[in-house]
Subunit: 202 residues, 2 copies
Amino acid sequence: MDTRSNRRQATRTKLYEAAVTLIAEQGFSATTVDEIAERAGVAKGTVYYNFKSKTELFEELLRHGVGLLTESLRTAADGTAARGGTRVEALDAMIRAGLVFIDRYPAFTQLYVAELWRTNRAWQSTLLVVRQEAVAVVETVLREGVAGGELSDEIDIPLTAAALVGMVLVAALDWQAFQRERSIDDVHAALSRLLHGRVSGR
Amino acid sequence: MDTRSNRRQATRTKLYEAAVTLIAEQGFSATTVDEIAERAGVAKGTVYYNFKSKTELFEELLRHGVGLLTESLRTAADGTAARGGTRVEALDAMIRAGLVFIDRYPAFTQLYVAELWRTNRAWQSTLLVVRQEAVAVVETVLREGVAGGELSDEIDIPLTAAALVGMVLVAALDWQAFQRERSIDDVHAALSRLLHGRVSGR
DNA sequence: TATTTTGCACTGACCAGTCAGTTCAATAGG
DNA sequence: CCTATTGAACTGACTGGTCAGTGCAAAATA
């Protein structure tokens, strides 16, 4: 059967799950391969049977995680478009999707933010690619909104996209770390209000 | 006389500067005390003469850096108030001050963001205190704006403050890391536009 | 003189990566 | 069916190297 490859895949997944939590908590260098193996319930040798090195395990983990995020953002945007929604509604849906993602994978988000702006690290190029994928989804929606006259043509698309992503990322991490009692709807409402410019004025 | 403590202070500052760059690039655990000493142009023994441990050096560095940031935000807010400006103008001035700070101390910002949401680390409690100081400055201005009727009383102050800080932080880091060619005015304009709700509509 | 810095050797803990050996599901042969 | 064989998957003790922190005598600085 393909019980073989199923088994391998299961082992890899266990390793991802163990690594993401530990690295989010402690950072890459402070996390030992022994710890990862132990938490995954696997021998150290198995880590090296499945991955070339500690760094490679981490890079694959990054690719895997950002893949999930990008997919979920895109689904949100496409879904809105299919229902004939506006571009602003699409942005709102993407904020929601981002929050849901972070709620489900808080450790991954933490780790991603912690590593994203570091320079001179082995996985720098991987991160660059992977970041661009995610930001591009937002940029596309902004561009469509400007083209359709729904958004001001004076906005700076790359900078605005980065700011929006940052707003969601940081607000969500803060929510997870310091304001756990809030519901996802509270957070969504606060961010949505900023997006719609309903902060100043009453 | 006073030259004594000046000399010590100068050594400490050299160590802060060396450590902040290295730790921002590589992370805390991947940075060795030997490297820090070498980059500061100081003997390893001097590090331990001035700081109890590597961790203590790092914690003092955090306190020092966030102190500078908080002070600069507060100055911006107070300056606006003194000139009789509105609260929205104060927020705008704080965005500017944040950008100037990050432009001057990019390494510190990077390191702060990388560590802020980690749990289970030695300096977690230091960070919590230090974060609250910075966010509190923003919250105060928001609260005053709501009280004066200038901002909607429906905004969620803690969440909005976190989102604003995040927006600035991430946009600025992205600017430094991926969009270096942009001027500080470009970045400020993009963020200001979001704050004023001048994104949707034309 | 008192404080601060230097230079350097040393220790003990820790850790990434290796490798010889074990387990076991799948398959082939009788 | 049942047993033997194969090789992918996994194991964990071991190695070579790294690094935080120490100790201390000598030198520089004020």
